[in-house]
């Protein structure tokens, strides 16, 4: 309230002032309830309440690019493995080509997402100053570099061969690129689980032993789903892989639900827990049921597989978003690092 504004006297309040004066004169003291400032009672610092409940840990500084990168990288890494193995076992050429293109697209989108998340994107090359085995991000950067080079080379050489015919240099580049994308694709598909598992965030490091496997299988499910949406809905190998990934994801969810630890709260309760469960449902039970149904009902198989594929892709994306979000919630909870539990 500004001092310059003219205030008209209010009868009640003027009377109250007179009353206070009278009490003071008669009794030497004035009794009143006092006033209650906005926000009172203020929290106190103690072992039970923490330091005013101010979070001890800092929230991840990552933006929307990072969960999307986890999804893209996982799908691309698994696609490189699927493409290379399909090629080595002499599977359908179109399947090999499409898997390679997913890997190549992912290996271009991934660094773009990572660089745009940096606070100083123009300094991204500083990542290549050092190789630190004890830093999962450093290991991941070098893995991504090898994976990107291999995947792009294999896809590029493949398309050159189609256009200009067979030649030795093209074959060498294609085979070397494919081998590199397989070799680097294996860790690339799941290292993001190590990346967030080996941190100070309780909900993440409590799952350090599960996250890489979980993310890797989620990447495989997304890769299979993308290939199926690209038209490979008759491949029995993809059906088996999709089935296997869905079973594995069900198992991961069951393990998460059956473990009891206060650090897991953000993964089970509240909105963040809801997103984790929704991601889990779309990754595990739903595609499992749809795939089982498509196997049992031969005729409608392709349509059911399409829905299983869509569910698995959505589940994989939602799972990464859910885990990153749960990390934010976990970092805000001062009780966990202080080991205070009611």
């Amino acid at each position: 309230m500004t001092a310059s504004r003219l205030q008209l006297p209010v009868v009640d309040r003027e009377q109250r002032l007179t009353e206070i004066r009278r009490q003071a004169e008669e009794r030497g003291r004035v009794e009143s309830r006092g006033i209650r400032p906005a926000g009172a009672p203020f929290p106190r610092a103690s072992v039970e309440t923490g330091y005013y409940g101010i979070p001890l840990l800092k929230r991840p500084a990552w933006t929307w690019e990072i969960p999307l990168y986890f999804f893209v990288g996982g799908a691309a890494g698994a696609s490189a493995v699927v493409g290379a193995i399909a090629n080595y076992t002499g599977a359908d050429r179109r399947l090999v080509r499409d898997a390679r293109w997913i890997a190549a697209a992912g290996s271009i989108i991934s660094p773009a997402l990572l660089i745009s998340d940096l606070g100083r994107p123009e300094r991204f090359y500083n990542m290549l100053r050092v190789f630190k085995p004890q830093s999962p991000m450093s290991v991941g950067v070098w893995t991504l570099l090898g994976f990107s080079g291999g995947s792009v080379a294999a896809a590029f050489a493949g398309s050159m061969r189609k256009r200009y015919g067979e030649s030795l240099p093209i074959r060498v580049v294609e085979n070397a690129g494919e081998a590199a994308s397989l070799l680097f694709g294996l860790p690339f598909s799941n290292y993001t689980g190590v990346l967030i598992g080996a941190t100070a965030i309780p909900a993440w490091n409590e799952n350090a032993g599960e996250l890489p496997m979980h993310f890797g299988m989620s990447g495989l499910a997304a890769s299979v789903g993308l290939l199926e949406l690209m038209g490979h809905r008759r491949s029995r190998a993809l059906q088996m892989l999709g089935l296997g990934a869905a079973v594995f994801e069900c198992w991961e969810e069951w393990k998460l639900e059956s473990r009891k630890s206060s650090a897991l709260q953000p993964l089970k309760h509240g909105p963040s827990g809801g997103i984790v469960r929704a991601g889990g449902f779309l990754s595990g039970p739903l595609p499992l049921a749809l795939r089982a149904a498509s196997i049992l009902s031969g005729g409608n198989s392709a349509k059911l597989r399409k829905w299983a594929a869509i569910s698995a892709i959505a589940g994989s994306l939602l799972t990464r978003i859910a885990w990153v979000h749960a990390g934010h919630v976990s970092a805000q909870d001062w009780r966990e690092p202080l080991k205070v539990r009611e």
Partner: protein
């Protein structure tokens, strides 16, 4: 001076925040607004990218007899928080650019000309110290006044502290001083005085020790801080199993599919 450390003694701190001001002025750290938090006289909240020293105000139950407190007034503990400069520093291990280094004085220093703002140190600090500045893009924290130590000067906060609550010196000397100080406080009746220096955990001790009264958790000091590298073995094992499952599963699926296709 060889390997150095801070010893912050909350029993001497008067909550004047001279260390916060001195730190900001010497290091040119930006102002971060003035919001009334309602948390005692602490309007800063926590250390972060724009706060490298932070005075905590912990109000305790009335305690007549100490410091001439009137019986109805809360007794106060103030403690100036700072980057712990861990012996095994999570931020340093995590940094993928090598921007975070250990200096010859034992401190952990973020080189501002190298950092590219990936933010991985932020989630790797068990004390929630280092933070990314969203305006600048890079991560910042206490530099342990590396520039001042280089030329033989005390860090700005220690120099500005009017009660020598922030002591600076050679680490082993300070450890001995800290033990002696805690014993002295016990003799004077402050039975709850204790030293916070997590040497027993994977962090392996810090270059910023704190003498506090009562449970250190009331000061947001974690009882068991762990450097995240301890989770690496478990995580990479899981990654290897995941890779083996992916390779084996894919191989099995395509090999099983082969005879049928060839028919």
């Amino acid at each position: 001076m060889g390997v150095t450390a801070f010893l912050t003694d909350s029993t001497l701190c008067i909550g004047c925040k001279a260390c916060e001001v001195a730190c900001k002025e010497w290091n040119g750290v930006s102002e971060d607004g003035l919001d009334w938090s309602g948390f005692s006289y602490d309007n800063t909240g926590a250390v972060g990218h724009s706060t490298w020293r932070h005075v905590k105000f912990v109000e305790n139950a009335p305690e007549p007899g100490f410091g001439g407190n009137a019986a109805e007034l809360n007794s106060w503990s103030f403690s100036s928080d700072v980057c712990k400069h861990c012996e095994n520093a999570g931020c340093l291990e995590a940094c993928p650019t090598g921007a975070i280094v250990r200096t010859e004085f034992g401190g952990v220093f973020v080189q501002p000309d190298i950092c590219n703002g990936c933010g991985y140190c932020v989630v790797s600090c068990p004390f929630g110290v280092v933070e990314k500045n969203p305006d600048d893009g890079r991560a910042f924290k206490c530099t342990f006044c590396y520039d001042r130590q280089k030329v033989g000067l005390k860090p700005a906060c220690a120099k500005a502290c009017p009660t020598e609550s922030i002591k600076f010196g050679e680490i082993e000397t300070l450890r001995a001083d800290a033990q002696a100080r805690v014993e002295e406080l016990h003799q004077r009746g402050m039975d709850d005085a204790n030293l916070y220096d997590p040497t027993e955990t994977s962090v392996g001790g810090t270059h910023a020790m704190f003498i506090v009264r009562g449970d250190a958790r009331a000061y947001n000091l974690p009882p068991k801080p762990e450097v995240p590298t301890i989770y690496l073995k478990k995580a990479w094992t899981s990654s290897a199993i995941g890779a083996a499952l992916l390779l084996g599963g894919t191989l099995a699926a395509f090999l099983a599919d082969r005879p049928r296709r060839r028919r």
